[in-house]
């Protein structure tokens, strides 16, 4: 979750300062927004924090436990293994996906591609498929018995490794998310490239720069802002990984544990174990981790820009 940009409420207008009584005019204007903002953004976070300070047990009822749940979360090997897993996912999948997206965006932007709009739409299309549907669909493909993988094995007499086995499952999920989000990131990069003045390319060409040089020295620096944004979105997306493992778990229950990703762990804690207090603590810790990582990336990304 990115840090909400809270615009300071406009100060009382200068003309109305005749009386010393503070004017609430400004608040009247931002009031409706602030109300909705508090209700839909702040209240759920506040409620999650409130919940995380209690422990409701099947026997013994509800009890205030202070920071016990946080202490438990910080020393919970299952939680940290899930964080480690999405961390690994982030380090491997996000660079691959963004690189592919950049490649496609540059190819489309080069203007040398035949059937440009067809490619643009077909690469973007997977993003329009709901993630749940995508995960179900890939689940059919991954089936090593009667799925596509199984069919290929039969037809060609080969034996492809089972994509749903524990050692490959993370890569298989990475493949699904890459398929889903390359188009989305491609669109961000492509639209950023569109606003680069064409005259820059022309003058570079006149100076004798080849296409590679133009890409390295003009295009990529020009869309660095978009790259940072896409990276931050992808980091948040990775940390929030949920739908794909949740769906594929029906097919590979032993490869995907109930604590496969932090989100899925929080879900399992609440839905299977009724440990919603602890789950809230896990969610809060995870939100803090995500904010820190996203913020660090944002700082670094913008610093290099300057």
């Amino acid at each position: 979750m990115a840090v909400p940009q809270l615009a300071a409420p406009p100060a009382a207008s200068r003309m109305g300062v005749r009386r010393r009584r503070p004017s609430f005019k400004g608040w009247q204007f931002v009031g409706p927004f602030m109300f909705v903002f508090a209700l839909v953004f702040l209240a759920p976070i506040g409620y999650a924090i409130y919940l995380s300070l209690f422990r409701n047990r099947l026997i013994g009822g509800n009890q205030f436990v202070g920071l016990d749940n946080y202490q438990q979360a910080l020393t919970d090997p299952q939680f940290w293994s899930s964080v480690g897993r999405v961390g690994l996912f982030l380090l491997v999948q996000v660079p691959i996906m963004l690189f592919l997206a950049l490649l496609v965006a540059l190819a489309l932007d080069s203007g040398r591609l035949y059937g440009k709009s067809f490619f643009r739409v077909s690469i973007f299309l997977p993003y329009a498929v709901p993630t749940v549907v995508a995960a179900l669909m890939w689940g059919f493909i991954y089936g090593s018995q009667f799925g596509l993988v199984g069919n290929i094995n039969d037809a060609l007499g080969v034996s492809l490794p089972d994509p749903l086995k524990p050692s490959l499952i993370l890569a298989s999920i990475g493949n699904i998310t890459t398929w889903e989000f390359v188009g989305y990131n491609m669109l961000i990069f492509y639209s950023a490239l569109q606003v680069v003045p064409k005259s820059l390319y022309e003058s570079a060409a006149i100076d004798g720069a080849g296409q590679w040089r133009i890409i390295r020295s003009i295009k990529i620096p020009a869309i660095r802002g978009a790259l940072v944004i896409a990276t931050i979105f992808s980091i948040i997306g990775s940390f929030q990984l949920f739908n794909e493992p949740a769906i594929l778990r029906n097919l590979a229950p032993n490869a995907i544990t109930s604590y496969f990703t932090p989100n899925f762990y929080a879900y399992s804690l609440t839905f299977a174990g009724q440990q919603f207090n602890y789950s809230a603590a896990v969610a809060v810790v995870m939100a803090v981790i995500t904010i820190i990582v996203a913020y660090v990336v944002q700082l670094r990304g913008t610093k290099e820009l300057g």
Partner: protein, 448 residues
């Protein structure tokens, strides 16, 4: 009929994210909702409540209840039943827990599976039906389900359906390879080896680790890994019955004789239809699923008695099945009890059986017309005879944990390791035990 919509349920549960308890639409009917579980209510009072009428909210996903509700309202025109599908199984339980915690929107009647019932009973969420004279209904129900609604000295629901286990097998496959249909689990292991050797694409069964199935087999073997006395719980997977299960299943897993296909998946139904999954040991509610989801196997499949752990035995166990319960925070308890009796013990039973449900009532199980039903999918076999026999032979004394819903959810985290790595099954069970013990103690139970 417990889990065939599980896949869909999980899929939709994954999408939901937010807002669970929103449904329900709490009926603030000014009913006669007098009192706690200990009060005594006579049949006359229940009858009076039915005559007087009112609104009843029922949370259930059992599809055959729809007709029951319609007929019930015809019979008692002043009663209006609001049948709400708040999700299947664990999804509904979550909604129910939320409603109970909030104290608002709690339905009068809720469908709860047998394995989850103790959890709700111990959380004081359900009304003890002893106060309504439910004890007198004991003879009406088969022993397995009746045992399941009895928890800690109370009766917390009326059995709606049951899942006495049977062995479904693909006769064509067995005939083709000249393999005898197994009557013991040792023979089953042999058959598994022969079949897989004869046709490397065929497996005796699919299994990727299913807590409900594993516990049912332990149950049949006479295992009692869970000993529950109020809040004192003992978990022990080294119990002799469990070991019988472990011994056979370890070999099936190590020799890779089980298809790595999860139940209720698309691949599973394909395997059932095309003969690469040769048997299925499960509850008697299964046939309807065969017909709708694996039409390719029609005429090829048969039902048989569950293989035995001791040759010549006739032990059976339950797999799945659910009850209707009266929520303690519900409003119209007398009326709710009237509905329970109608749906699960009265006219409702026949309506549901006619629609394909598997009954939990002894009378139906002895009904000649029902017993003589010929199943087209099973080549005209009178499969109900086998199911009825199984229902009578369910091993007594089994109990689930008062937090079985949680325990089942971590089965694949622990025991599942045995399916995908070299971890021995016994170690997996030990890990399952440890994690269940830890959770139980955290939740305020005394677990050893």
């Amino acid at each position: 009929m417990s889990r065939f919509t599980k896949m869909a349920a999980v899929a939709s549960a994954a999408v939901l994210g937010l807002g669970l308890a929103a449904c329900g639409g709490g009926t603030d009917d000014a009913g006669s909702g007098s009192g706690s579980g200990s009060s005594t209510v006579t049949d006359a009072q229940v009858q009076a409540a039915l005559e007087k009428g009112g609104t009843l909210t029922v949370w259930a996903w059992e599809p055959t209840l729809k007709d029951v509700v319609a007929k019930f309202q015809e019979k008692y025109p002043k009663v209006k039943v609001d049948l709400v599908n708040a999700g299947t199984s664990d999804k509904q339980y979550t909604a129910l827990q939320n409603a109970i915690a909030a104290g608002k929107g709690v339905p009068d009647v809720g469908q709860i599976e047998y394995y989850a019932l103790p959890q709700f009973a111990i959380g004081k969420a359900l009304t003890d039906l002893k106060g309504y004279g439910a004890e007198s209904l004991k003879a009406d129900f088969t022993p397995g389900p009746w045992n399941s609604v009895n928890s800690n000295g109370g009766i917390y629901g009326l059995p709606m359906d049951s899942g006495p286990m049977a062995l479904f097998y693909n006769k064509d496959v067995f005939d083709k390879h000249g393999i005898k249909v197994p009557t013991t689990w040792t023979e089953y292991l042999d058959a598994a080896r022969k079949l897989h050797k004869a046709d490397p694409k065929a497996y005796i069964a699919n299994d990727t680790g299913d807590a409900g199935f594993a516990t049912s087999l332990m149950w049949q073997a006479g295992g009692k890994p869970y000993q529950v006395d109020g809040t004192n719980v003992k978990i022990d997977f080294t119990d002799p019955g469990v070991q019988e299960y472990t011994k056979v299943w370890q070999q099936l897993i190590s020799e890779k004789l089980l298809a790595p296909i999860s139940s209720w998946s698309d691949q599973w139904f394909q395997g059932i239809g095309n003969g690469s999954i040769a048997t299925l040991a499960t509850g008697a509610w299964m046939p309807a699923n065969f017909v709708t989801s694996a039409p390719g196997g029609s005429g090829k499949w048969r039902a048989a008695e569950l293989p035995q752990w001791t040759a010549g035995g006739n032990a059976s166990a339950e797999n799945g099945g659910s009850s209707l319960t009266i929520l303690d925070k519900g409003a119209n308890k007398e009326l709710a009890y009237g509905f329970l009796k109608y749906a699960n013990d009265g006219d409702g039973v026949q309506i549901r059986v006619d629609n394909g449900a598997f009954p939990a009532t002894s009378k139906t199980l002895a009904d000649q017309k029902w017993l003589n039903t010929e199943f087209k999918y099973f080549g005209g076999q009178k499969a109900n005879e086998i199911f009825a026999k199984s229902a009578q032979n369910v091993v007594t004394g089994w109990s689930y944990l008062p937090f079985q819903v949680y325990a089942n959810s971590v089965f694949n985290d622990t025991v599942g390791k045995a399916y995908v790595s070299s971890t021995p099954l016994a170690d997996g069970l030990k890990a399952w035990q440890d994690q269940s013990v830890k959770y139980g103690n955290e939740q305020g139970f005394t677990v050893k």
